[in-house]
Amino acid sequence: MTTNDWPLWEVFVRSRRGLSHTHAGSLHAPDAELALRNARDLYTRRGEGVSIWVVPSTVITASSPDEKDPFFEPAGDKPYRHPTFYEIPEGVKHL
């Protein structure tokens, strides 16, 4: 293998109609068209998908692990934000 200086792409695959695209992994490719083809070969060869998105990794803005506490912890002690205080009427499905 030679050094790979192709850009990195993030791959999102929608497994069925009606579901949303979920992150499947990443790969290297010289451009978007080939990234899509590589994604097809790497992530959908066992019939996993009906649609693929590829996104250049560089355009993704991610939350930093260092900021984990201020970002996520305040939500932990606010149980009233969770819809757990309702009596679910009988016969209601899919809640």
């Binding site: 030679t2 790979n4 083809r37 070969d41």
Partner: protein, 239 residues
């Protein structure tokens, strides 16, 4: 073994798929990048699947693949050509998958014995052709070096392409029309890739191609030795 026209045709098409599959498999673990390693292996596996169906139509698939001598193989000389550099592999793939796609599309539309296989395989082959086209465009219209390598590869393999349109007994298609469509399709891709259509003769004394009659080029013997050695060393072995 008596060879009917049908099984002779299955042998010709099956050997094309088997031999090209093995050649592409030789890239496994050493393609230019990991992603391409997987892409080529995928194509190889598609072809192997086709080969298994076709050879089973002609006889016992293992016996045919592993126990025939070189002269009994009926594949095109194009598919047995060594991988060379990546450009050679792509040029070979462009020439062959364009041919295979046109041929299978026609077989799938008919009602002959190959129609069910062709209908399934033509979708696989459409992807092989797409893959080869995209790489031809990028190499031909890429850097000065990639352009030069792609040009060399297209020219070197051009003389093996006339053989594809020698009629195969038992395959009922309009070969001259197939050849016309192939030339138009390949020339269009080459033009977009800023490459000239090679001017090397494709038929006649200076062209290659008697693979369908069992005459093969020198590298094929070595390829077969590697492909068959395990089966011949351990007859009947299983896991």
């Amino acid at each position: 073994m008596t060879v009917t026209a049908g099984s002779a045709a299955a042998l010709a098409l099956g050997d094309d798929a088997l031999v090209l599959s093995h050649r592409l498999g030789e890239w496994a673990g050493k393609a230019p990048v990991l992603e391409e390693d997987v892409a080529l292996a995928n194509i190889a596996l598609d072809l192997l699947g086709q080969a298994r169906v076709l050879l089973s139509m002609a006889g016992d698939e293992d016996e045919l693949a592993y126990l025939r001598e070189e002269r009994a193989f009926r594949n095109l000389q194009l598919v047995e050509q060594p991988n060379g550099d990546f450009a050679h592999t792509i040029a070979r793939q462009l020439y062959f998958s364009t041919y295979q796609r046109l041929l299978y599309a026609e077989l799938a539309a008919g009602d002959g014995e190959f129609a069910p296989l062709a209908a399934k395989a033509v979708k696989e082959v459409a992807y092989h052709q797409d893959h080869a086209e995209h790489w031809t465009l990028r190499l031909g219209d890429g850097t000065a070096e990639s352009h030069e390598r792609m040009r060399r590869a297209c020219e070197a393999l051009w003389r093996y392409t006339g053989e594809m349109f020698q009629p195969v007994e038992g395959v009922d298609v309009d070969w001259p029309a197939l050849q016309g469509r192939w030339l138009a399709s390949v020339s269009a891709v080459l033009r977009r890739a800023t490459l000239d259509t090679p001017e090397v003769p494709r038929s006649g004394a200076w062209s290659a191609g008697a693979g369908r009659q069992g005459l093969h080029t020198e590298p094929f013997g070595r390829m077969l030795a590697e492909m068959q050695h395990l089966h011949r060393s351990h007859p009947g072995a299983s896991w």
